[in-house]
């Protein structure tokens, strides 16, 4: 099977072949990686690659996989032959940015209205969670195309807050 992985904006084309029961071969950019693999726990893989012992956990998030390796975390998108099944939601159309709630919480204040012109880093709204108020700022100069929430609304992580274009 062929997959496309996107990490930090970089695209990696991966071809996976199962060589033996516990051995897979991954071909990336013409290079072949032969790995011992064992699913030691649900979502946790142990890889042996060139005698290195590496443990990697994979947790599905809303739009990506959160991959943890050596205590470091990174978001990985995977696109397979059947199309984009796991794509980052943050990437909008050209020049458009979707802002999503970074955590569940309550909208305590909406600072702008739809159609407003905003500067980069201008506060758009304030969310309260765990007794902390957190201001959501505009990542770019532009126009508020849409507001996804109203004051006093409860939001979940990943809910659309606003679209700036």
């Amino acid at each position: 099977m062929k997959y496309t992985a996107i990490i930090d904006g970089e695209r990696l084309e991966i071809e996976l072949v199962r060589v033996e029961r516990d051995v897979i071969q991954a071909e990336i950019a013409g290079e072949k990686y032969v790995l011992d693999v064992q699913a030691v726990e649900p979502g946790v893989y142990w890889f042996r690659w060139k005698d290195r012992s590496v443990e990697i956990s994979v947790t599905p998030n809303t739009d990506t996989y959160v991959v943890s390796i050596n205590g470091q975390r990174i978001d990985v998108e995977i696109i397979d032959a059947r199309g984009a099944l796991r794509k980052a939601g943050q990437q909008g159309h050209a020049g458009t940015v979707e802002l999503r709630a970074p955590m569940p919480g309550k909208v305590v204040k909406v600072l702008v209205s739809e159609g407003a012109a905003v500067d980069m880093n201008q506060g758009l709204l304030v969310i309260e969670a765990m007794k902390m108020q957190n201001e959501i700022k505009s990542p770019k100069k532009g126009t508020v195309r849409k507001l996804g929430v109203k004051e006093t609304a409860a939001v979940n992580a990943g809910d659309l807050l606003a679209i700036v274009e």
Binding site: Y3, L16, I69
Partner: protein, 504 residues
């Protein structure tokens, strides 16, 4: 011995208290809000009482509900933990009125030390020096300007009823004073219901060092070493140590003496903490006294071998202190990292949610005081502290190496945490040398951590392996029934047997 103790708290500290009671053979009654049904402290207690909806002002902060649960459970003592009602004099009094022992000091001690102004006045009589500044609330902007000028800028504005890092503001010069006064007052009013504020000299390169004290109801009191609490983010402690890298036996002795004078001034019994600010020349100033168990009490326990919770219980039932000052022996060094459900890469936003995978470290010198479990949903309603990771070593270097090792073993998935952030702090040369002040972390975040140049990314080999792992996981994910047919041509189908094993 008490017949039953009601634990008027939640999270890791409630679990800590239940463990102490269990070791003493005392049954426990937990209380829980609607958000904490099935919380670890509820699971571990012998009894459990619902006390209302999720918001703490409707549950954990409602004195009558706690007292009512205690009466229903026939508990003869209540341990308040920290936070919530732990430093509420009315609660201590309500316990007295209900003939239930409050495991803490007298209501009078709480009230006295709860007012910073009264507390400073009281300790001054015993010769304990506070940071130069006003003691009474300032009455006008004009007065503030005069006092600030006489002390000299920079100054700190502080809420009289404040604590926990809230209601504080640094003022660099007179031009900032007016707006700072306005903002601090309004913050104080909304946070503490009281807009009284006072002025203090700002101590440059300050370190925050506190002394743990123990005092019984018979007039015996000892100090059991200091804690270094300088590593703070936005005035909230995140790493604590015992001993402090800058405290030698002489300074420890002098600070301990001062702390015992504060105990006298407060007519105090219970475990307690006297907080000091230490300047670059190692002069120390009284800040405040916390009349309760401290979050960071484990580092003292690891180094002194004492169990502070058990000692609180013993003091509350009227025992004399079981040891003298000369019997306090400190050994090695301990360190605590407060593991929070928060996202260091996104301004430390809280990250509540379901913990889908939890692997906690263990082995030599590691203690994990956790309040959560795999499958638990960290609620949105409370402080995001999920665990305190504590290490001990024969030296500060060994304790630090163990902390690095333990942080690497610690795995929390499903929510974000500050574990990776701690690993970076512990690698910082100034931290390793013990050379820091209270602004260390905020400077590190501003100048290094949050800079685009400091992009935390993986080496090429690890990136490739991460991509492969995600692709393998993706290929193994459950597929909707309608797609199963199409799916059957995938190379993975050979592996049905293995999948069967994994899902068992």
């Amino acid at each position: 011995m008490f017949k039953k103790i009601l634990i008027a708290n939640r999270g890791e500290i409630a679990v800590r208290l239940i463990r102490a009671c269990r070791e003493l053979g005392i049954p426990t009654a937990a209380v829980y809000s609607e958000a904490d049904r099935g919380a670890l402290h509820v699971r571990m207690a012998d009894e459990a009482y619902a006390i209302g909806p999720a918001p703490s002002r409707e549950s954990y902060l409602v004195i009558e509900r706690i007292i009512d649960a205690a009466l229903r459970s026939h508990a003869d003592a209540i341990h308040p933990g920290y936070g919530f009602l732990a430093e509420n004099a009315s609660f201590a009094k309500a316990c007295d009125d209900a003939a239930i022992t409050f495991i803490g000091p007298s209501a009078a001690s709480i009230a006295l030390m709860g007012s910073k102004i009264q507390a400073r006045r009281a300790v001054a009589k015993y010769g304990v020096e506070s940071v130069p500044g006003t003691v009474d609330p300032i009455r006008s902007d004009e007065e503030a300007r005069t006092i600030a000028a006489s002390i000299g800028y920079p100054i700190m504005l502080k809420a009289s009823g404040g604590g926990g890092g809230k209601g504080l503001r640094l003022v660099a010069g007179e031009q900032e004073l007016e707006s700072a006064l306005r903002n601090t007052r309004s913050e104080a009013l909304s946070a503490f219901g009281d807009d009284a504020i006072y002025i203090e000299k700002f101590v440059e390169k300050p370190r925050h060092v506190e002394i743990q004290v123990l005092a019984d109801r018979h007039g015996n009191a000892i100090h059991v070493g200091e804690r270094e609490c300088t590593i703070q983010r936005r005035h909230q402690k995140v790493i604590e140590e015992c001993p402090s890298p800058i405290v030698d036996p002489d300074l420890r002795g002098r600070m301990g003496e001062a702390a015992l004078k504060v105990v006298q001034a407060a007519n105090y019994y219970n475990a307690g903490t006297v907080e000091f600010l230490v300047d670059a020349r190692r002069r120390f100033y009284f800040l405040e006294m916390n009349t309760r168990l401290q979050v960071e009490h484990p580092v003292t326990e690891m180094v002194t071998g004492l169990d502070l919770v058990k000692l609180q219980i013993a003091i509350a039932r009227g025992d004399k202190l079981p040891l003298k000052q000369t019997e306090v022996v400190m050994r090695g060094a301990a360190m605590e990292c407060r593991i929070y459900a928060e996202d260091p890469d996104n301004k430390f936003f809280p990250s509540p949610g379901k913990i889908v995978r939890l692997r906690t470290p263990s082995g030599p010198g590691v203690r994990d005081d956790s309040g959560v479990y795999e499958g638990w949903t960290v609620p949105i309603d409370y402080d995001p502290l999920i665990s305190k990771l504590v290490t001990w070593g024969s030296s500060r270097a060994e304790s630090m190496a163990r902390m690095q090792r333990a942080l690497r073993e610690y795995q929390i998935d499903g929510i974000k945490s500050n574990i990776g952030f701690f690993r970076e702090i512990l690698r910082h040369p100034d931290f390793q040398k013990g050379d820091f002040d209270t602004g260390f972390i905020d400077r590190f975040i501003g100048s290094v951590y949050d800079q685009p140049a400091h992009k935390r990314t993986l080496q090429q080999g690890d990136r490739t392996l991460a991509a492969i792992a995600a692709a393998v996981f993706h290929s193994e994910r459950p597929v909707p029934a309608a797609e199963a047919e199409k799916h059957s041509d995938m190379f993975w189908k050979l592996d049905a047997r293995r999948r069967g094993l994994r899902s068992s």
